[in-house]
């Protein structure tokens, strides 16, 4: 199977023996990226001319060139890239040949698209009973919305996420950087590996049907429990936490500071008590803690039963105190004193965080085609061995056509030339 014809003999990684065919668009890129990070041999298959997702910004040096999309770079590293026209007979035959030798296939076409080309799960299973075939669509392969169209915004709305985010009385909000595809790619990788576990035990592959709408559901945390138990809708609280008190009280968590904002909360329980006391101690050292706050018995403070009046009264001295601090001051003092909270960081704050530096998180990746080295966010986890890291930058359009069609599938130069002329690759 995928163990043959390795072009990279030095590849290591937890999933090194396996070959993945990645036919996804940007709604599924992350899935293949994760499998590639874990050492699998991931082959990204793009239509001739390139994946349409390459047209999305931001771009390298703001040059809107499909070869310079930063989202493409980010989520297609650790993949090789080939082109293939699936609307043509020869293209379909080539995909079947590739699928015979693959362990995984990931795709994100509308339900029925691949079936109509005799490339769906049923057809490819005939050729390879072991194949784990993962389909990513907005709502799933079947059901009343299966043919609805979606985008990041639509998925964030229909998952319920947006109903819980934003100022009361103003429009519900998404995160400005698309998130739905992230949740989906990550869950798709998990579902794919669960099916893999079963395949390795039984020799049987299966179809993994991933829904983008359902993938975002976990971004709602425990909120659905409110409906299940109490038949209550929660309403978005802006910069305040909702759903923590039985009285319906909302608790401020975003505080303005001198150079931005801080996320701090006075919690209950043992962890909250220690943190609240440490915060008041810091305020007291700067003579900014009112007497009543210094006397406060945090052991008796229970968030779940607190009313709005008590919460509002409690937050006032914190609002004043934090308005005179900076993000960096809070980051340093909260670490030193054990206060629960973090600055509301922007990308520069994150890039400058000494914690990430100390952990060697950032990884320089060479882009010879740009004559540049770009520093990427690094591995999602550290393993005792082998390392999970970026071993290759994202491929150019058709960059590995010769390597994969020629050296691995054994097509002759003439055959490849014919395919090129026919617009197949």
């Amino acid at each position: 199977m995928a163990g043959e014809n390795r072009s990279l003999d030095d590849r290591v990684g937890l999933l090194a023996p396996y070959r993945v065919l990645d036919l996804t668009d940007n709604s599924g890129w992350l899935c293949g990226r994760i499998l590639g990070d874990l050492g699998a041999d991931v082959v990204k298959i793009e239509p001739p001319g390139g994946d349409p997702g390459r047209r999305g910004g931001p771009f390298y040096r703001d040059d809107p060139d499909p070869a310079k999309s930063l989202a493409w770079f980010a989520y297609n590293a650790n993949k090789r890239g080939i082109t293939l026209a699936l609307d043509t007979g020869p293209g379909q035959r080539l995909l079947r040949r590739l699928a015979q030798r693959a362990d995984f296939l990931i795709e994100s076409s509308p339900p029925g698209y691949l079936d109509a080309r005799n490339l769906g799960y049923r057809a490819l299973r005939e050729a390879n009973l072991r194949l784990v075939f993962t389909s990513i669509t907005p709502f799933g392969q079947s059901g009343p919305y299966a043919h609805y169209r979606a985008s990041d915004l639509i998925a964030m709305a229909m998952s319920g996420f947006m109903s819980l985010v934003g100022e009361p009385g103003r429009p519900p909000l998404r995160v400005s950087l698309p998130q739905a595809a992230m949740w989906t790619g990550m869950h798709a990788a998990a579902g794919t590996l669960i099916a893999h576990h079963y395949r390795e035990a039984t020799g049987r592959g299966q179809h993994v049907d991933v829904s983008i709408q359902a993938s975002v559901l976990w971004a709602l945390a425990n909120a659905p429990a409110n409906w299940s138990l109490l038949r209550e809708d929660l309403h978005r609280g802006g910069s305040r936490i909702v759903g923590r008190s039985m009285t319906g009280a909302r608790m401020r968590a975003i505080y303005r500071c001198r150079d931005g904002h801080i996320n701090f909360i006075f919690y209950g329980g043992e962890a909250g008590k220690r943190s609240n006391e440490a915060m008041v101690q810091w305020m007291a050292e700067l003579n900014e803690a009112p007497e009543w706050l210094r006397q406060k018995d945090w052991g008796a403070f229970n968030v779940a039963s607190s009313g709005q009046e008590e919460i509002d009264q409690l937050e006032r001295p914190f609002v004043e105190f934090l308005s005179r601090r900076t993000k960096a001051e809070f980051a340093a003092e909260s670490l030193k004193r054990g206060i629960l909270g973090y600055p509301v960081a922007d990308v520069r704050d994150i890039r400058d965080d000494p914690q990430l530096e100390a952990r060697d998180f950032w990884q320089p990746v060479k882009h010879p085609e740009l004559d540049a080295t770009i520093t990427y966010p690094g591995a999602f986890a550290r393993f005792s061995a082998p390392a999970c890291r970026i071993a290759r930058r994202a491929p150019g359009i058709g960059e590995h056509n010769d390597e994969i069609y020629g050296m691995e599938l054994g097509l002759s130069d003439d055959e490849l030339q014919t395919l090129r002329q026919g617009g197949i690759v």
């Binding site: 937890l14 994760i34 931001p58 930063l70 993962t134 059901g143 919305y145 609805y148 979606a150 985008s151 915004l153 639509i154 998925a155 709305a157 319920g160 109903s163 429009p171 995160v175 950087l177 998990a190 579902g191 794919t192 669960i194 179809h207 991933v210 709408q213 559901l217 709602l220 945390a221 425990n222 659905p224 409906w227 299940s228 138990l229 209550e232 809708d233 968590a253 975003i254 904002h261 996320n263 701090f264 962890a271 779940a304 670490l335 973090y342 960081a345 922007d346 990308v347 520069r348 994150i350 100390a358 952990r359 966010p377 690094g378 591995a379 999602f380 986890a381 550290r382 393993f383 061995a385």
Partner: protein, 413 residues
Amino acid sequence: MNVEGPPAAPPPKALEGVKVAEFAVFAAGPMVGKHLGEHGATVVRVESRTRPDGFRVHYPPYKDNIPGLNRTGTFAIFNDSKLGITLNLKHPEGVGIAKRLVAWADVLIENFVPGVMARNGLSYEAVREINPSIIYLSSCNMGQTGPKASQRGFGSQLTSQSGFTYLTGEPDGEPMLLFGPYIDFVAVGFGLVAVLAALDDRRRTGRGQHIDLSQYETGLQFLAPALLDHEVNGRIMSRMGNRSPEAAPHGAYPCRGQDRWCAIAVCTEEEWRNCCRAAGHPEWAEDARFASGAARRAHADELDALIGAWTSRLTPEETMETLQAVGVRAGMVNRLSDLFADPQLGHRRIWRELPHAELERFHYIAPPYILSETPAELRPSPLLGEHNGYVYRKILGLPDREVERLIANGVIE
């Protein structure tokens, strides 16, 4: 069914035989176990009665608004499909019992502040002595190393350190909270993937694994394009409400009813013409202000006002159906109540309403992936110590008298 036959055998379980010991609290650790359990792994959640999971104690919602260790939905929702036992790790005999569980397990999951497991005698090094091929997942805010490793924190705040809060809100307004510990669930997905990959590697090589998962670093995977944009363009991406640099109209539009909304995303010229026709305003498509994507983005305020005036006369369902019928991306902003009535989530059996001794019935959540041969099967979350008898006697094989002695001595709490 018109043919009576023998009852069908239950479908096989993908992770049957995988054994998991969970020393974990709140969401980031326990949810990994839940996902393994729903596909058939045997997951044993170890809890303390003297210091129960915070989600059992001070986290609503409670059944009938009456607090109780087995009455909170917040514990239930993250802990289905596993067995629950109590064990006092502060008792001198506690660690010995824990080690028997660890010897049994293929996977150990913990999400304490670095150092806590070591103080309880259960560091990776100690556990490896007993079980060299164990897959040991450590998930914490900042990772096991570095100057901030020991910093305590909750996901609701870490979500801000990780950049998500800064990127949420109106351009001229405050950053907005995401609901709950958003980042915890990112760490859950990556933790699950890491464990599954390590299991495969172990099957082939016999090698165990310590996985150091920084929740912060997992969150940054979701932010990579913004981090690269800063790296190569020096730009600090900021919040822009619901606007998009690539589509217009693009937003949540008010609909008929109290706080009802429908999201609309128009990405191409064809979609825009279809949107105008469906709204009964073909003249919008002729308006020079809206003649191209760039023009619509430049006049987004006027555009949003026109679209909003149209949607305000419709329910969110009507808006969604009208636009989807002509191929325009539209979706209602589902409230919690809408999610439970959503026909698509219903079709996928996302909500699994199961009986529970104190919650009566509770809706557990099935995973977003459906495996054709080995579908997920959810089981109710455990009451505190519910499976002590089964786990201590059947799994660990302790004699009845020994179990009674451990209970009497407060080791099994």
